[in-house]
């Protein structure tokens, strides 16, 4: 047993952290949040050059064969910086789904373009009913000659407004099937929805959208299996980002509690603040250690269905808790746009829904145990 990071991993973490603190201050984050694109194409180009987007690329496709833990390191630093970018939608959600279910040609082509920073992608799974389950997927795909015709509406598609291609989960005769669709295809209408995360959550309407039979990811009917397999890894990666947000909230709140004075002393001297903060640290430490345990299990090729669900439910609740206490301890300024703790308070709620909320994951755990 050796729970330390390798020196390469330490260097990776440091380089990501340094880049983000130099290039994307919290001021910049707020500016990006307020833009229609919701990301910075300039920064995206830079992180592509730095090689971040290669992190999931297997050696056979020209990658370095990084362990899964390295992706978590990047996600954690992205979370600390509250960095708004299509990294999650493109590299994590779409990249991992392609790796799970795509053909060799698709992997080569799509992952290659992603790595070069030339392709943004989004995963379109949820619909109006907002179900995380297979039964929630009802967008129809009807075969007509050599094409499929897609009809229906996808909701909460992250980064659909900037994506070049979409992975669309649709209901075909054989069951759930994944389609690779050009975001600019005729009949697609994409509308960004205002959210607490000030992110790119979109409604995407498919009105007789034509997709070639060749543009399937996996076989007809095995889309749900692919989504489920990719989901565990997507969850763990998202939890990396969320745990990073926990850490940033904790650190900035501790710093504030040491500096802010009332009654002539730092508020961090008061036991009530100390106890809030010790609960926050406990929430963080239990989360971060479990995060790396589950990430390590993925590197060991173990089945992590139950553990990924436990991790997501844990991190959902703890991120909300830590950031909520963070705002409270900051007092009035914590509620302002000017201060940064609010970035994390809003993200904690927004990310709660990503790849399953706590109730969904509690049920998955219960199903596995009973």
């Amino acid at each position: 047993m050796d729970l330390s990071f390798s020196s390469e991993q330490e260097i990776l973490r440091k380089s990501v952290a340094e880049f983000l603190s130099k290039e994307c201050s919290y001021e910049k984050v707020k500016e990006i949040e307020e833009s229609a694109e919701g990301y910075s194409p300039k920064l995206w180009k830079k992180i592509a050059q730095l090689g971040w987007l290669e992190i999931i690329l297997p050696e056979e496709f020209g990658g370095f064969g990084d362990p899964f833990i390295n992706l978590i390191i990047i996600m954690e630093e992205i979370g600390k910086a509250a960095f708004p970018s299509p990294f999650f939608s493109t590299v994590v959600q779409s990249g991992l789904t392609i790796l799970e279910g795509g053909s060799t040609a698709q992997k080569k082509d799509l992952l290659g373009k992603i790595v070069d920073g030339k392709l943004l992608m989004a995963l379109a799974q949820y619909e109006q009913e907002a179900s995380y389950l297979e039964t929630g997927i009802n967008l129809s795909a009807k075969l007509s000659g050599d094409d499929y015709i897609l009809n229906g509406t996808k909701m909460f598609v992250i980064d659909a407004n900037i994506a070049d291609k979409l992975i669309v989960a649709a209901r075909e005769d054989k069951g759930i099937t994944l389609f690779l669709v050009d975001a600019g295809a005729k009949g697609i209408k994409c509308t960004k929805m205002p959210t607490i995360g000030m992110d790119n959550n979109c409604e995407v309407i498919f009105d007789n959208v034509k997709v070639s039979k060749a543009d399937l990811i996996g076989e007809p009917g095995n889309g749900w299996k692919i989504l489920q397999k990719a989901e565990a890894k997507i969850i763990v990666a998202k939890c990396g980002e969320m745990v990073g947000g926990c850490k940033a909230s904790l650190d900035m709140t501790a710093a504030y509690a040491k500096e802010r004075k009332q009654y002539g002393v730092p508020i961090g001297l008061f036991q009530v603040i100390q106890h809030y903060m010790s609960n926050m640290l406990l929430a963080y430490d239990t989360s971060v250690n479990y995060l790396y345990k589950v990430a390590w299990m993925i590197d060991e090729n173990e089945d992590v269905t139950k553990e990924a669900s436990a991790l997501k439910a844990q991190v959902n609740e703890k991120y909300k808790f830590i950031s909520e206490r963070g705002v409270q301890i900051h007092g009035g300024v914590g509620t302002s746009r000017e201060f940064d703790i609010g970035l994390f308070y809003r993200r904690a709620k927004a990310y709660e829904y990503v790849a399953g909320d706590s109730d969904y994951h509690y049920e998955k755990i219960a199903a596995a145990l009973m």
Binding site: F5, A257, L269, Q271, D285, Q314, Y362, I365, L369, M370
Partner: protein, 398 residues
């Protein structure tokens, strides 16, 4: 990063598991589900504890982690973790929380050679039992304010005062005592650590019954109790520092989480086999959610325990001090949640203790009561939270 155990560690764990599985076949009914209640509440339970202790002593397992110069093997801390994990998951006794858990590390740090030979050897062999003489009626969390005195008188010390919440004081052969050797000094200054026998003239032990009527705790009164000066451990008046320095034993709290796992297994069996309103309890969405939440807490707590042990083994004590407090708070409060959820899930049956009708042999209703002792004892959750804020986050001390 690698969470795997080595083959040697796995083999060791199997050896521990086999031993405890075998040993527990002889547990008398009075021992119940073990823990402090099992060991101290009945003479039969205590006798069983002593038997197991001797067996562990014969194997050399009580002192494996001690340094070689103190008669141990200098075994790595992670092996101590595996031992504790195995023992606690079997709910086995044999390790004296006070003697092996607290006093032995003190002796290792501070005892002279004569004391090491005289006091550590019986501990290593499992032939002696201890209780802890720290808390006083007016000195609980604020332990440094304690008032029991030990005044030097020629070759002796004369002890006067009172200790309280002395777990097992009615059964233990010896005590390790923290007393004021310099009454002129206040707080942490002027305190010293002693070894003494509980059968000395002038010592009176009175029971304090727990809320369920069981006898675990005691008050211990000292009236002109004379002990030889050779039983002072370490330097006179430096006892406070010594009590702070004895943290280099395994403090991961792994026991909370492995015991909790056993509880959860039994609870899952119970809900899968018990029907209410025509349905198995396991089909109830509220019950499913409670069980999922306990599973998560046990997972993250167990992982934290391993991290603490690993850090402690590496000598990362400053992190480990905060994290060990975290594990204690989290583990002890989790035990409360487990007992509360379990007894809620059981409905009316949740209140039954010693009855053929009691689910899980009444263990959960027992735990519901006893777990309150754990969030208070050995540094209450509130004191632990102060320590976490100070050492883990650098918030100012008051």
């Amino acid at each position: 990063m690698d969470f795997k155990l080595t083959e040697k560690q796995k083999a060791l764990k199997r050896e521990f598991d086999q031993f405890f599985e075998e040993v527990m076949k002889d547990a008398p009914p009075e021992y119940g589900r073990g823990g402090l209640e099992g060991v101290y509440a009945t003479p039969e339970g205590f006798e069983f504890h002593l038997q197991v202790s001797k067996k562990l002593g014969e194997k050399g397992w009580l002192s494996r982690a001690w340094p070689k110069e103190c008669g141990g093997e200098g075994a790595p801390l992670i092996e101590q973790l595996l031992f504790n994990e195995s023992r606690e998951s079997h709910r086995a006794p044999g390790v004296d929380l006070f003697g092996h858990g607290m006093f032995a590390p003190t002796l290792i740090i501070a005892a002279n050679d004569e004391q090491k030979e005289r006091l550590l050897t019986p501990l290593a062999k499992g032939k002696v039992s201890y209780c802890q003489g720290w808390s006083e009626p007016d000195s609980g969390s604020d332990l440094a304010s304690l008032q029991t005195t030990a005044i030097k008188d020629g070759d002796n010390y004369i002890i006067n005062g009172q200790k309280i919440w002395t777990t097992g004081g009615h059964r233990a052969e010896c005590m390790f005592l923290l007393a004021r050797t310099n009454p002129e000094e206040k707080r942490g200054k002027g305190l010293s650590v002693f070894h003494l026998r509980m059968d000395l003239p002038g010592i009176t032990v009175r029971p304090i019954l727990y809320m369920d009527g069981k006898h675990l705790y005691n008050e211990v009164f000292f009236k002109d109790v004379k002990i030889p000066a050779k039983d002072l451990i370490g330097t006179e008046n430096e006892g406070w520092k010594l009590t702070r320095d004895t943290m280099n034993f395994e403090r991961s709290g792994v026991g909370f989480f492995v015991e909790g796992r056993e509880d959860l297994k039994e609870l899952v069996d119970y809900v899968k086999t018990t029907k209410r309103n025509g349905k198995y309890l396991a089909e109830d969405p509220i019950i499913r959610q409670k069980i999922a939440k306990l599973f998560i807490d046990l997972e993250v707590g167990y992982t934290l325990a391993y991290k603490i042990a690993w850090l402690q083994g590496k000598g990362g004590l400053s992190f480990a001090a905060s994290a060990a407090s975290e594990a204690k708070v989290f583990g002890s409060e989790l035990a409360e949640r487990i007992a509360n959820y379990a007894t809620e899930i059981m409905g009316l049956y949740g209140q039954l203790s010693d009855s053929k009708w009691a689910p899980m042999n009444g263990s959960m209703v027992e735990s519901y009561q006893f777990c309150m002792g754990i969030t208070v004892a050995a540094g209450s959750s509130e004191i632990q939270r102060n320590i976490i804020a100070w050492t883990g986050l650098g918030l100012p001390r008051f």
